[in-house]
Symmetry: C2
Subunit: 186 residues, 2 copies
């Protein structure tokens, strides 16, 4: 039998919060690697992720007349717990119903629009285990090829964020009070 | 009746290619706006998009040991003909099968991997009307939260690129010879 020893494990900050205690004495093999010890500690607190440094899920909603950044949206939803980020970017096309388009102009009823997007985020969290959600919408003129909307969602596994993004853009188009005016050639 | 006049329309470069002629004389109302004239010209060449400055669809495939950029992938698939860009970003999670992860290490059999991704792009084009497809895969060590794979697809309408991205990442995981090694605590 492998010789064992007693070690005192001290918990600080977040780990103390998660474990619900500040210290405990456990029995482990005398020769043990850091990773094995970590797993040993984790199994003592089943259902709790000792590794969860960043627990709270965020809904980030932004309306702006400025250019939207895909990198910014993507960075905001990154989490060490997630293996997947799915994004949708809605851009201005150069044609609409057979007509040439120069730009689209967006207007929103802001308090209601933001509220409605919060509801969509909450619907998503009911349906899929996603981590962070970012929804950016540009207001005013959006020239051809530029983004009017960006949705980014992170999740541990890919199916959740892929389905959530698809749902989010459909729901946004259907429910959120944002109007678009097509601007063609003068 | 509105007075009409004859105007000579000259086609150059791409527009000449698309119209298949270098000039023609057409009859239009004496007072006509630029946009109306444009539509008039377009209806004379049905089935051809006179506006299509960028015709060729691109499949952009990249394997690299460098950090991947979501903005770069997104920029590469932008098209004035498209109203939608969908993206998937696969990132390194801090845990795998209950174990703590420091980084993932990716290795690919490059000629076959690239070939297989080209096939996936071609499958996508059979299934959905998408414009450009970009597939980036990082090789070597990928630390927690950094991207190992980015897929970006543009399309005129959103359903096509959303479904194509979802298909692409599933197909990539199933068919492309890329191996990953999990690196935990030392």
């Amino acid at each position: 039998m492998v010789p064992r020893c007693q070690v005192e494990v001290l918990y600080f900050a977040k780990s103390a919060e998660i474990a619900g205690i500040r210290s405990e004495t456990i029995s482990v093999p005398q020769e043990i690697k850091a990773l094995q010890l970590w797993n040993e500690i984790e199994t003592r607190h089943p259902g709790k992720d000792m590794n969860e440094v960043e627990e709270k899920s965020k809904d980030i909603i932004k309306f702006t007349p400025e250019k939207l950044s895909v990198d910014e949206a993507s960075q905001l939803v990154i989490s060490p717990l997630c293996g997947a980020i799915s994004l949708f970017v809605g851009t201005t096309r150069n044609n609409f119903e057979g007509k040439k388009v120069i730009s689209l102009e967006y207007e929103a009823y802001l308090p209601m629009a933001e509220n409605e997007i919060r509801k969509i985020c909450s619907d998503i969290r009911q349906k899929w285990p996603v981590k962070h959600i970012a929804v950016f919408h540009r207001l005013g003129l959006v020239p051809v090829t530029e983004a009017s909307v960006i949705i980014a969602v992170s999740s541990a596994h890919r199916a959740a964020s892929l389905e959530a993004v698809s749902y989010a853009i459909d729901a946004l188009k259907a429910r959120v009070p944002i109007w678009k005016k097509v601007r063609g050639c003068p």
